[in-house]
């Protein structure tokens, strides 16, 4: 028989019981939360169908330049001679002189393929994600150019700063295993 001083006091017993209950509860909650989880994490992405090219992606990201950049689904592209992602719609002469470019950083490259088709490519190191070309392509073309969060840059903040400011609520969390919402030829994603 243990003497009185080494016996469990009521306070200790109660504390131990509550502590045990808390541990079990935390374990249960963790199990419940982790059970349906995907193997990997989640990352931010923007839905190009919701995007209205407001320009916030270029300015609101915590990175400078932004983690959002233009991407191009070539199979959707019309390979237009007069591409309004490339040319300022106000230009009268469609030459590749700098003043005729839509892109403020000259990130869009233009290459002749065959008459009358031109291929447009993006230099991602120059792109700032302002979406000016996206607006041009959506307004006059097929919408084959659109913005995407680039995961080689994105810090994956728990609360994306652009998502807070996005006027069309286009920022969503997607599984890290399929981290892009690319447009596919045929209209669906």
């Amino acid at each position: 028989m243990a003497d009185r001083s080494s016996r469990l006091t009521r306070r200790q017993l109660l504390g131990g019981a509550i502590r045990g209950a808390c541990t079990v509860g935390l374990g249960g909650a963790a199990g419940y939360l982790a059970a349906p989880a995907r193997a990997g994490g989640v990352v931010w992405q923007l839905d190009p169908d919701k995007c209205i090219q407001c320009g916030n992606c270029a300015t609101e990201c915590v990175l400078q330049p932004s983690a959002v950049k233009c991407v191009h689904t070539f199979r959707l592209c019309g390979y237009c001679l007069r591409c309004f992602a490339f040319f300022d719609p106000l230009t009268s002469e469609f030459t590749t002189a700098a003043e005729n470019h839509m892109c403020p950083t000259g990130a869009i490259g233009r290459k002749f393929i065959e008459d009358p088709y031109y291929q447009y490519t993006f230099d991602e190191a120059l792109c700032i994600g302002c979406g000016k070309c996206v607006k041009g392509c959506n307004t006059f073309g097929n919408g084959s150019i659109y913005l995407q969060v680039r995961h080689d840059r994105c810090l994956n903040c728990n609360q994306c700063e652009i998502a807070i400011q996005c006027p069309s609520d286009a920022f969503v969390r997607v599984p890290a295993a399929s981290p892009y919402l690319f447009k596919q030829a045929g209209g669906s994603q």
Binding site: C22, R38, L63, Q64, G78, I113, G141, L155
Partner: protein, 456 residues
């Protein structure tokens, strides 16, 4: 000139008609090339491997174990400080702050209440590990593992004493913040803890881990520069300046995870003690704690006796009233809270525009027009969100009411104390007080505990 350009753009846009409904039509038929042509692939650089997240989780576990060992067993402020610097570098600058255990509170709330969100297992780990360690060892997570605590611990050079009444009162703000943050995350509206976090912008100034990742992998976008959002650093500067004199202002008065840890730490199995052996009541440690966590023993020959029964009875009457009052107050402010939600904001704007009260369009209302969702559907959605907020903020308010009464209850029950001891809820296990204790000094210098002859 710019005006003319703008006018011309508008004309051109009008002539072009409505913008392409996204992805559905093709104005220009994609070409059938005659020459051999291969479509370039759209580059898709992957996110950092999630193996890294499991490494982070393992480092968190190791850091928690080390912090508990340094505080409770080794009793070394030096080692704790070294760990603090490591945590600041690793969990702060290397991981760029996200996802931290403080912010993970919201992810867990989303996972529990918002069916659209599934919490990744590593975030569950980041949430649960500090709680479990606190249940057993006290707030050793706060001591040297949390990057937000670490940066404040390192700048607390000239801490002043905050009066006890103010300390207790301000401490309640953390519970209000916790309740609001959990509610907003549960409703899927916002992660306010992250949005208002004063220290994460500092970590993003030098995203070291990101640079390493960018330098090692496939990076068509080039390495990211230093954070360009200098505006986000204003709260950082304010908190760090205050933190010079009022130690760890965020941890003590705002941190929502700290609010949870305070409750769990009361139940902790083990906890740091000021002295390694028996307290000799020399009073040297009395003013050593910058967080006001050291409680004094009952003066000699006095006894606090039994708590005032009338007062306790009063508290018991107050309890349901405070819970109901808090709930009512929460329900009252639910309309204000709901305004954080995107759908509610949008519905309000569209309502104003439809009523003709505002003429100019916002980006939000233009985006809504493009989305082709009917106005009635939007109003119905907003109504549903508001209804959710009514219930949710009533519950959150009731929780805050409960916490306030429990706080009063804890303040009115006093026990006879023989020694100086740290208040388990408030103590962050920072080990500052150790060096003030003469018994501890003897232990450190001579390598053994002194033999104490009792005077009385």
């Amino acid at each position: 000139m710019t005006f003319l350009r703008r006018a011309a753009i508008i004309v051109v846009l009008l002539l072009a008609g409505t913008p392409a409904s996204p992805g559905s039509e093709q104005r220009v038929r994609p070409p059938q090339f005659e020459s051999p042509y291969e479509f370039p692939a759209t580059t898709a650089p992957p996110p950092p491997s999630d193996v890294l997240e499991y490494v982070d989780l393992a480092v968190l576990l190791a850091a928690l174990a080390a912090a508990s060992y340094f505080a409770l067993k080794r009793r070394s402020r030096k080692w704790l400080l070294a760990l603090t610097v490591f945590s600041l570098l690793y969990f702060g600058f290397w991981r760029a702050g996200c996802v931290c255990p403080v912010g993970a509170v919201q992810n867990v709330s989303s996972g529990l209440f918002d069916g659209r969100y599934v919490v990744p297992p590593t975030i569950v780990g980041f949430f649960v590990l500090p709680l479990v360690f606190t249940l057993f060892f006290g707030r050793t997570f706060c001591a040297a593992v949390c990057p937000l605590g670490a940066v404040q611990e390192l700048v607390a050079v000239k801490p002043v004493r905050v009066p006890a009444w103010l300390e207790h009162a301000l401490g309640l703000a953390a519970y209000v913040y916790l309740a609001a943050a959990v509610l907003l995350a549960a409703m899927g509206s916002a992660y306010v803890i992250c949005r208002a976090d004063p220290f994460v912008p500092l970590f993003r100034v030098l995203p070291i881990g990101h640079w390493v990742h960018a330098a090692s992998g496939n990076t068509p976008g080039g390495a990211a520069g230093i954070s360009g959002r200098a505006d986000l650093l204003i709260p950082t500067a304010v908190f760090l300046l205050i933190g010079l004199f009022i130690a760890r202002p965020y941890c003590r008065f705002l941190c929502p995870l700290g609010a949870i840890l305070r409750l769990l730490s009361r139940l902790s199995r083990w906890h740091v003690t000021i002295t390694p052996a028996e307290c000799i009541k020399c009073r040297l440690c009395e003013n050593s704690c910058p967080y006001g966590a050291i409680r004094k023993p009952t003066p000699q020959g006095e006894s606090v006796g039994r708590p005032d029964r009338l007062r306790l009875a009063g508290m018991l009457v107050l309890l349901p009233m405070a819970v109901a009052g808090g709930g009512l107050l929460g329900w009252g402010v639910s309309g204000q809270l709901a305004k954080v939600d995107y759908t509610v904001q949008l519905a309000q704007r569209i309502r104003l525009e439809q009523a003709g009260l505002v003429s100019e369009r916002t980006d939000q209302s233009l985006a809504f027009e493009q989305s082709k969702v009917s106005v009635d559907k939007l109003y119905a959605n907003a109504q549903a969100v508001k209804a959710g907020y009514s219930t949710g903020s009533a519950v959150a308010g009731a929780f805050v009411g409960l916490v306030v009464v429990l706080k009063l209850l804890a303040l009115s029950v006093q026990r006879n104390r023989q020694d100086y001891f740290p208040d388990r809820a408030v103590c962050m296990s920072c080990a500052r007080c150790f060096s003030y204790c003469p018994i501890e000094r003897q232990r450190v210098v001579k390598g053994h505990l002194p033999v104490i002859t009792k005077v009385n």
